[in-house]
Structure formats: C-alpha cells, structure tokens
C-alpha cells in the first residue's frame, strides 16, 4: 500500500482558491431562484393541514377567478403513475408513491403534503389564490410513531399495503399477505448470536430513540420550469443530481427523458435532501397549463413539513463482551419511520451499525415502517447516525463494565482489513484503527478536563460511501489551460477538487484548469452529488480523459519532433523524447502548437467506478453540563477521520467540521416536535434550533490519510461519515460529566434534568 507521501503530488494536497470563489463572495453566483426568465410566473403549493385525511373534494374555482392567477392544478392533472419500483437515491421508491408524494391524489398522508398548486403573476397573488382553494377533507386518525404503527390495531397509512419479508425492501420477496404499516423487514446474520452471548461475561442491553431531523440546508427547494410548445421541458433548479431528477420527472410525467433538460444552478446546501424531486413536477404542469415559465420556491416551513427529513427511529441494542474486553456478540432490532411512503434508510443503518468493530456474531432485525409524516430522504450517512448512536452508547457501557478505557476498548476491538461486516462482506484497506490511534496521540486526549460537571466522550462511526457513474470532458486551450466540463452540481467545493486532480494529471497549476458544470444535454450521465462520491467518481473519469488527451498530445509532439510516438513520454507536465534528451516541451508549450500539428484536442469519458472505499472516523468531545438547567456546553471537539487522500485539505477539513456540527445539532437540540394530530410545532429555524456559531468551539479535524487503492488519486469519500460519531460521543460525554445515560435524542436540557431527577430519586430510593 502506498502512503500519500509516496505519491509525491504537486497539486493534490495544496490549498488553491476555489474557482467559483469570487462569484460566491461577491453575490454574483446564480443560485436556483436567482435565475429569471421573461414572462415567468410564481407558483405556490396548497398543503394539507391534516396528517391523515381523505381528499373528498377540491374546489379551485375561487382561486381561478382571482385576477392574476394563470393556472391551478391538483393531483388529477398528473398522469396516473405506474405501480413500479425505481431507485431514488439511497432508497428506492415506487413510482406511484413518488408521484403521490409530489402531489397527493386521493389521500393526504402527512401535514404539509401537497394537494394543489397555483401559478400567478407574483408570489403574493399566488399565496392569496392558494388560500382560496377549498378542500373538503375526511380526517382520519394519524399514526405518528413507528412502534405504534407496527401494532395490529394501528390506523393503516396505506390500507392495501402488506408486509414484505424480503432480502432488503423490495419485491417480490415473501409477501405475508398481512395488511400492515410494516412495509418491509429484513435481517442480517453473521456467525451464531446465541453462541456469542454465551461467551460474554458482560452484556448490556438498552433501547434508544431518535427523533426526526432535517438536513437544514439554508437554500430552500426551488425550481424554474418551462414546458415549451414543442413539449420539451427545461428546468433550472437546485439539485443534487440532475440526471436522477430528469429520470424521476420522466417517470412521473410519463414524458420522454430526452425531452427534459435540467440545468443545475448553484446549490445552497442539500446533504441528501435535494436528491428527490418536489417542485419540479407541479411547476412543469403549471407551465404546461399556463404556457409560461413557472418559478417556485418553498417557504422555510414548507421545507420542514413538505420535503424529506431523516427518519425517527427506535433501536434495541444488546452487546456482549468478555471480561478481558473482546466484543463477542451484537444484537439489534431497528424500527425506522419511513414517513408516508416506504423506503427509510434502515438498511444502511443496519449495515453501518456495528461495522467499526470486529464482531464475529451479529444479528440485526430491521423494520421499515410507514407513518403519517413526510417521506424520509437521505441525510448525510443516511440511517447510520441513528444506529451508531445506540451501538456507541452500549460500547461505552461495556468498556466501563469491564474496566477498560473507552478509547482503548475501541482500539482492542477495531475492525481491520479482511474482518467481516454484519452483511458478510470483508473490509478492504481502510483506516479505522489509524483514526483511533491518532486520536489517542492527540493533545486533546492527553489534556485534563479541568472542572466539575465535565466529561469526555468518544465514539466511532462507519459509512460505506458510493461510487456512481460520472462523465467528464476536457479541452486543451491554446494558452495551456484546460477546460473541464463535468455534470455534478458543486455543493461544497468540488469544482476545485476536480480541477486539482485535472491539474495533477496534466502537470499544470490548479488555476490553469477551468471547471464548468453542464446541463443534462451537454455532458454524459452523472450520478448524484451525494454518497460522498463526487470527487471520487469524477476523479476516475478525469484520470481517463487526461490520459486520452496526453496520448493525443504525445502524437503531436512526435509529429513536431519527426519521431515515432513511442519515443515520446510525459512526466511532471513535460513531454520529452526518450531518444533525444534535449527535445522537451512543457504542456503549455505543446498546447500552443496544437493547431499547427493537427487541430484542437478534447476528450471525454464516462466511467462507473467500483470500490468507493469506506470511511471510518472517531470523534472526541469534552462537555460541561449545568446540572441545574441541563444545558450542555461543548468545550472542545476533535474528529479524526480516514480521508484517503485529501485533495484540497481545507475543504476536506470543512466536510469533517460541518458534519460534526450537524451531528452536534442532532444530538442536542434538533427535532421534529409533533403534537398529537401530527402537526409539526417547530417548523422554523427559530424553534428548530440548529447550532449557531456561538454554540460551538473550534472543531479540530485530524486528517488520517490511508489512500484508497482502487482509486487513481487514492480518493475515498469524505463528506458523510462525520455526522455519525457525534451523537454517541455526546451521549458518552454527558454520561461522563453527570452520570446519566441519555437514550433519547435530542438530549435536550429538560430531558437531562429529568434524567438527573430520576437518578436522584433512584439513589434516594436505594438509600
């Protein structure tokens, strides 16, 4: 295995200024809603005020009569979708469900479910018109909790749905025939769980609950859509994957995929939430009906209530260890609330749960359960924060019971190359143990807590990362620069990382690469800006296009030097003759001679990379808890993560820091707070309480670099894993600080105070 130092990179590992930087610090960058068209209308959605209701009748006549209103649509204006399973991001979804989610057909399945839409001359008129639409509902009792929904007498979200006992989630599996909110169940078994627990000297079993949380991207979903007179549809939007959304739109609208073009604008955050389509479909139908381009943007409340947050969950976790500290058995039962339609991230949660450790006997039962809440979507390492919160809490307790330091305990049990995950797959080269060891060597680990009511917590995490196809094209410019055309929306600085790999391959400075993001008709297929895959997969394509272009340029050098192409080689940005050492041309020099030697050079490649390279990470946090108010202050935070090769270390650190802070928010304060009727009570940034700058200390990122052997530049995904460890790390830190084991997220102040009271009552009772 080569280390990153062995690779001797010139550009990779440096910190150039991002290519889109000037646009973004001056306000000139065009985000989705900044795109304007002549004659555009504003669209607005009417959403269900009920969590569960039959739509008896919709009367749009008053809205249609309002001056300035140009079109009104309901679910009846969408084609009847096929009852067919398709992949959608990290989950898969039935096409009919997909269609029903963007616009309810006969039933509203969650509060915030779209039931009608209006296009009008401006947003204020559109809002007024929406309020004039009269909907007659037959309100049904909602089911709002996964465990409750599993009960035989629970109201059925989809009355015809039966439980599928299946390998994963999908047909045909084995249909129980039993009507149920359990859309699917699966299990993963490794070794012999009963035998494992027999070997255990200590066993800990606990139940953990997490609440729904939102990705919290600052830019709301938006789309501008033109359904043209030739039936071509053009979309300008905020997208984590234009090709996927094009396909989803085609399925829902029953429209040829080639007649839909999506031009991604700058995207203001996504974290998984901008993989699905929402507004794109009603905006298209409104455009068709009105003959005008239609622009739509969600309000913040609509974003919370009408998009796809991350599932709430219940996890039963039982683990056993020998008295000398070896984890010998792990059992879990996972109940994930999918929301109104099947397809939570429970499979990923199951796969990631115990993966940091080498455990020979594992059994995991997992349930995907529908409830009257929005359809869940991907959120940074989907499914895994919930389950690792449980596992890491239990691991900590095991370490305590066997009297071993929690970090040492993790090191002793760390999974290594060749060890098997719960699903049986053997681990490839990865830096799990290295993260733990480097954290142990950090100043943070060696520091004192320095005060009462303080505690230190540690937790580890795993995320598998993704590959996905990519297409890139390069053209060599006469001034020796290279234009890079790519198709993955840049959500956090991928332009610069892709430009740097391109620069490395051509032996030119990063500034000499011009990265441009193309629409779906201007570049080959690209996967999602998701799955921590953008730099990885485009890096594979870049290596290929660069090789093609360099090979073509070698032939031009051969022509100039009147020699055979086999005599020409390229290294460190210089073409040279193997025969005559004085014959040399820099990349830039040769680029200036292309027209004289046969014309311009551009190359393109499409790839489907394998071997994404898994991510591992261990975090450490110091907290101080105010025992009177339950408030948790974060004093110090360090995250160690295997990042493969850090192309641009600043942006890699940024991913580590940003994910850690999202995890901190999830752990401490963020949640969907529902009343009994299924109404979200806190659908604003004020009450949802994402962390502010004042809630945080510095976040130290230790970049552990174990290159991915399956990648030309050693890249492994870096973006998602960082949200996994904070939940458990904070729970463990709170336990260390004030002695209470929090088993429910968020660990809000009132819950911590309650836990302290309960502990006191217990010790009084015992005393």
């Amino acid at each position: 295995m080569t280390t990153v130092e062995d690779r001797n990179y010139k550009v990779i590992g440096t910190r150039p200024i991002r290519h889109d930087g000037a646009d973004k610090v001056t306000g000139r960058a065009i985000y989705g809603i900044d795109y304007h068209m002549t004659g555009e209308l504003w669209g607005k959605i009417l959403r269900s005020p009920h969590a569960h209701a039959n739509i008896v009748k919709i009367d749009t006549s008053k809205a249609e009569a309002l001056p300035g209103v140009r079109a009104v649509i309901t679910g009846r204006d969408l084609p009847v979708a096929a009852d067919m399973e398709v992949d959608d991001g990290e989950t898969s979804i039935n096409t009919m469900h997909l269609s029903n989610n963007v616009m309810a057909h006969r039933k509203a399945l969650y509060r915030g479910h779209a039931v009608a839409a209006v296009a009008a001359d401006n947003q204020h008129i559109a809002e007024d018109a929406v309020n004039l639409i009269e909907v007659e509902y037959e309100v049904l009792p909602p089911v709002l909790n996964g465990r409750e929904a599993m009960k035989a007498d629970a109201p059925l979200v989809h009355p015809e749905q039966t439980t599928k006992s299946m390998a994963f989630r999908f047909d045909p599996g084995t249909d129980t025939g039993e009507k149920s909110n359990i859309a699917g169940r699966t299990e993963m078994r490794l070794g012999d769980i009963d035998e494992g627990f027999k070997q255990a000297d200590v066993i800990v079993e606990r139940v953990f609950n997490t609440n729904w949380v939102h990705q919290g991207y600052i830019e709301a979903q938006n789309a501008t859509v033109l359904w043209n007179n030739d039936d071509s549809i053009q979309v300008w939007n905020s997208s984590q994957g234009t090709f996927n959304q094009r396909q989803l739109m085609a399925e829902i609208l029953k429209h040829p995929v080639s007649k839909i073009r999506i031009t991604p604008q700058e995207i203001g955050g996504g974290f998984g939430g901008k993989i699905p389509v929402y507004l794109e479909v009603p905006a298209a139908v409104l455009s068709k009906k009105s003959g005008r381009p239609v622009k739509m943007m969600m309000s913040r409340a609509e974003v919370f209530e009408g998009t796809g947050p991350a599932s709430g969950s219940e996890t039963v976790c039982k683990m056993g260890a020998t008295k000398d500290g070896k984890i010998v058995a792990a059992y879990a039962e996972l109940v994930f609330e999918a929301g109104a339609f099947p397809g939570s991230a429970v499979g990923a949660g199951a796969q990631g749960m115990f993966t940091t450790y080498n455990i020979e006997n594992i059994l995991i039962h997992a349930y995907d359960v529908v409830v009257n809440k929005p359809k869940s979507a991907a959120y940074r390492s989907p499914g895994t924060p919930q389950t690792c919160f449980a596992a890491e809490s239990v691991v900590d307790e095991l370490a305590e019971k066997v009297g071993i330091d929690p970090l040492e305990f993790r090191i002793m049990n760390a999974a290594k190359e060749g060890d098997r995950r719960a699903d049986g797959v053997a681990h490839p080269v990865m830096g799990n143990l290295e993260c733990m060891v480097q954290l142990k060597e950090s100043n943070h680990y060696k520091s004192d807590l320095g005060g009462p009511n303080r505690g230190r917590g540690i937790a580890s995490g795993y995320w598998g990362n993704a590959g996905m196809p990519a297409s890139c094209a390069v053209s060599v410019n006469p001034d020796g620069t290279v234009s890079l055309a790519e198709g993955s929306p840049d959500i956090g600085g991928s332009r610069v990382s892709l430009a740097m790999m391109t620069a490395e391959a051509f032996g030119i400075p990063a500034e000499d690469v011009i990265p441009i993001i193309k629409d779906t008709d201007s570049i080959g297929y690209n996967g999602l800006t998701a799955g921590s895959s953008t730099t990885l997969r485009n890096g594979v394509a870049i290596a290929q296009v660069a090789k093609q272009a360099i090979d073509l340029m070698k032939a031009r050098a051969a022509r100039l030097w009147e020699t055979e192409v086999d005599n020409v080689d390229f290294a460190d940005g210089v073409f040279f003759s193997k025969a005559e050492s004085e014959l040399k041309l820099t990349f830039k020099e040769l680029a200036g001679k292309l027209m004289e030697t046969g014309g311009p050079i551009s190359t393109a490649a499409s790839v489907a990379p394998r071997g994404a390279g898994p991510s591992f990470s261990t975090h450490m946090v110091d907290v101080e808890v105010d025992p009177e108010t339950g408030k948790v202050d974060i004093l110090r935070y360090t995250a160690a993560q295997d990042v493969g090769v850090a192309i641009h270390p600043d942006y890699v650190e940024g991913q580590v820091q940003g994910g850690a802070v999202q995890g901190i928010g999830w752990a401490l304060n963020e949640e969907y707070f529902y009343d009994d009727s299924g109404r979200m009570m806190n659908s604003s940034y004020l009450d949802y309480r994402m962390p502010t700058s004042l809630d945080l200390p510095e976040i130290d990122a230790i970049l552990v670099q174990v290159p991915n052997p399956d990648h030309p530049f050693g890249v492994r995904g870096v973006a998602e894993i960082s949200i996994v460890p904070p939940l458990g790390a904070l729970a463990n830190a709170i336990k260390a600080a004030v002695g209470v084991r929090m088993q429910e997220l968020p660990m809000a102040p009132y819950k911590i105070v309650k836990a302290l009271w309960d502990k006191e009552a217990e010790s009084n009772g015992a005393g």
Binding site: I17, V25, I218, G268, Q655, G658, V661, L686, L696
Partner: protein, 161 residues
C-alpha cells in the same frame, strides 16, 4: 391584484436608486425581484438565518424584516457593494483563502455582517466574532473556518488579531 405602487428613493451601494414597490414587499424582495440584485439571499424569510443581511443606515438588519417602503431615504449597502473595481474586500479575500464557504448561500450575509463588525471593532475576540455572527446560520462549515476568516481579515485590515 397588484395594489398601487409606491415610489421609494434610496441610496444603494453609493448610487442613488429609485424603485417602485407594493407596501407588502420586503426590502429583500425589492432587492432581489425589483432591482434584480440577487446577491442578497433568502434563507428563512423570518429573521432567523441572516442570509439576507444588508447594512441599512449603518446597521446590519435582516432585509426580510424590513418593508421596501420603509427604506424611503435610506442608505443601503448590500453584498454587491462590498468589492470595488480595484478588487475584493479583505474579508472576501479572507473567506476565500480560509475556505470559509462550502455551498456559499450564507456567504453574502456573513460577509456583510463581518464587515460591519470589523468596521466597528477592528480587533474582536473569537468569542465576540461568534457572538456577532450568531444571527447568521451556516449549515455546511460548522463555522470554524468562517470564524478563522474573520480573525484573518481583522489582521489584514489593521486589527492585531
């Protein structure tokens, strides 16, 4: 039905700027949809994210919580007025050099807010920076690099940070 439009005279980024707006339009809406100055961003439209921060008569405000008509006679500075033809402002440069942005949607608000801080207090502590910027939400960076960028900019602008 559009109601009667009101004529508002302001100074935007040093230029006398007149516009017509309806009384229910926010300053944010006027900037973006009337003046087509889309650098100021909408994040929440209720004063809780700071993405729409502008400087109004010397104070930073959330432009979603100001009516366009209230700006009669006001001096407004937006993100579009921060850089000059000579180049980026030191804060903008510091954001770039410190990789203090990922998606960039919150960046204009952070830059307008940070500039107001450093003009008032050239050498703020890290805690003061975090306090001043608490009205600006960023979901990508975890704030670490933003805070570092402001410290760095203070140094370049003459503060001793």
């Amino acid at each position: 039905m559009p109601s009667e439009k009101i004529h508002v005279r302001t100074t935007v980024n040093g230029e006398a700027t007149d516009f017509l707006c309806e009384a229910n339009q926010s300053l944010l809406e006027v900037l973006r949809d009337v003046l087509y100055m889309t650098g100021t961003k909408e994040g929440c439209n209720d004063g809780n994210c700071g993405a729409c921060t502008v400087n109004l008569d010397g104070r930073i405000v959330d432009s979603c919580l100001v009516l366009g008509v209230e700006a009669q006679g006001a001096t407004i500075e937006t993100i579009e007025g921060v850089a000059t033809p000579e180049g980026l402002h030191p804060i903008q440069q510091a954001f770039l050099e410190n990789a203090a942005l990922q998606c960039g949607i919150c960046t204009p608000g952070f830059i307008v807010a940070s500039k107001a801080l450093l003009e008032r207090e050239p050498n703020p502590s890290e805690h003061r920076i975090r306090h001043w910027l608490a009205g600006n939400l960023c979901r990508c960076t975890g704030y670490d690099k933003i805070v570092r960028a402001v410290v760095d900019a203070a140094g370049h602008m003459g503060g001793k940070s």
